[in-house]
Amino acid sequence: MKMRMLTFIDRPTPIHKMTGASKLICFLLWSIIGMSTYDTWVLIFMLVTGLAVFAVSRIKFQEISFVLIFILIFLLLNDLAIYGFSPEQGVQIYGTRHVILRLPGSYSLTLEQLFYELNISLKYFSMIPFALLFIVTTQPSEFAASLNKIGVSYRISYAVAITLRYIPDIQRDYQEIAQAQQARGIDLSKKARIGIRIKNAAAIVLPLIFSSLGRIETISNGMELRGFGKKKMRTWYSARTFAKRDYLGIAFSAAVLVLSLTIMLVRGSRYYNPFQ
C-alpha cells in the first residue's frame, strides 16, 4: 500500500528562508481570511497571491500534483452534491433569480447557483497554496519550535515534534508487519470473504497498534531520565530569530485580513453580490 504524503522540499528561496513561526502565523491568518469571507474578489486575490508565493518557492508542479488531483475530484463531487441537494441555494443567498436553463422539478439552472458554486470552489481552492506551501517549505523540526514560539506550551509543541518524527517509523513498521503476515499467507485483497478480510486486517493492525503503544513507554522513560519538563522554558535547536522578510510576510497577511474584515463590515454581508 502506498502512503503518499507531502514532505519537506529543500530549496534556497526566500519562502524557505522565512522562519517556521512566521509561516505558521501567515498560514493561520490566511485560514481565517479564507474561512470568514465569501467575497469573490478577496478569494481571487487570495488565490493569485497564493500562486505567486508558490512560484517564488520554486516547488515543482509534479511534486504536489497528487494532492491537486484529489482536491479537484473532491470539488467536483462536492459541487455536484450541492446542486443535487439544493439547486436553489444561490437564489437564497443572493436574493434574485435568473434562470438560464429550464429543467424539470426545482432543478432549473440559475445564474445565482452557478455563481455560488464558483465561489464555494474558489473558497476551497484559494486555501490550498498556503497550507501546501507551509508543509513543503517548513523543516519538520522547525515546525515544533515555531509552535512554541507563537505561544503553544512547549510540552504540546514537543508532542507535535514526536508526531512528525515517528510517522515514517510507524509507516515502516506497518510495511514490515504487512509483509511478514502476507508471507505467512494472509490475504488482504478483495478476493477474501469479508469476515476473513477483517480478521486478516486485525492480524496486521493489532501488532502495529500494540507495538507502537509500546514505544510510548520507551520514549517517555528516555525523556524522564533526561529531565524533560522540569523547567518552565525550553530552547530549540532549530529555532531562528525573525528577519525583515518574516515581519513583512506577517504584516502583509494581517493587512489583507483587516481589509477583508473591513469590506465585510462596510457591506454588512460576507457575500459579494453582482446581481443587485
Partner: protein, 185 residues
C-alpha cells in the same frame, strides 16, 4: 492537577498517538457490501488511546492527528471536521478514570458505559457540530451537510461500537490484572 493531566507519558502518548492516527488514515478495510465504503480505523484507535490516557490526550490526538494528517495528505485543512475529531477524542477520554483499562478490567458494565458515551459524543460531533461548522464557514446547503454528517456519524458509531469495543477488550487482556499475584502461604 495540571501536572497529573499533562505528564511526560501523556505528552509522548499524544505525539505517538497522533502519528498512529495519521498512518491509520491510509489503512482502510473495504467492506464490500456497499461499493467504495471502507471501515475507518483511526476513530477505533482514538477510542482506545483516549480511554487509556484521558480526555486531554484524546482531544489533542484528534486535533493534531486530523489537522496534520489533512495537511500532509491533501495540502488543505478542513477545520470544521478537525474540531469534531478533537471533540470526539475528549468525549472518549472523559471516562478514563471510570474504566480501569490499564489494570486489565473491561467487564460488561464498562462495555455499556463506553458505548453509551461513544454514541452520545459521536452523535453530537457528527450530527451537529460538523454540519453546523460547514454551514457557518462554507455556507453549504443544510440538507447536504446534515446527510453527510449523519452517514459519517452512523458509520463511525457502528464501527467504534463493534471494533472499538473489541480493541479495548483485547488491549485490557494484555494488561496485568491488579491482584493477579498471590503470596504463597
Amino acid at each position: 492537577m495540571k501536572k497529573d493531566l499533562l505528564n511526560i507519558r501523556t505528552i509522548v502518548a499524544i505525539g505517538i498517538g497522533a502519528a498512529i492516527f495519521i498512518v491509520l488514515r491510509y489503512i482502510t478495510i473495504p467492506v464490500g457490501i456497499v461499493p467504495n465504503t471502507t471501515v475507518q480505523l483511526n476513530y477505533i484507535f482514538l477510542a482506545l488511546i483516549a480511554v487509556i490516557y484521558g480526555p486531554i490526550a484524546g482531544g489533542l490526538i484528534g486535533l493534531l492527528g486530523h489537522s496534520i494528517g489533512d495537511a500532509l495528505q491533501y495540502g488543505n485543512v478542513w477545520w470544521s471536521w478537525v474540531i469534531v475529531s478533537a471533540l470526539v477524542g475528549v468525549g472518549f477520554g472523559l471516562i478514563w478514570r471510570k474504566l480501569k483499562i490499564s489494570e486489565g478490567i473491561f467487564g460488561w458494565k464498562s462495555v455499556v458505559l463506553f458505548n453509551v458515551v461513544q454514541i452520545i459524543t459521536q452523535a453530537i460531533g457528527w450530527f451537529l457540530v460538523a454540519p453546523l461548522g460547514d454551514i457557518t464557514i462554507y455556507a453549504e446547503p443544510a440538507k447536504k451537510v446534515f446527510l453527510q454528517g449523519i452517514v459519517a456519524g452512523v458509520l463511525d458509531i457502528v464501527t467504534v461500537g463493534i471494533f472499538g469495543t473489541l480493541l479495548i477488550w483485547i488491549y485490557a487482556k494484555t494488561q496485568t490484572k491488579k491482584g493477579s499475584l498471590k503470596k504463597e502461604e
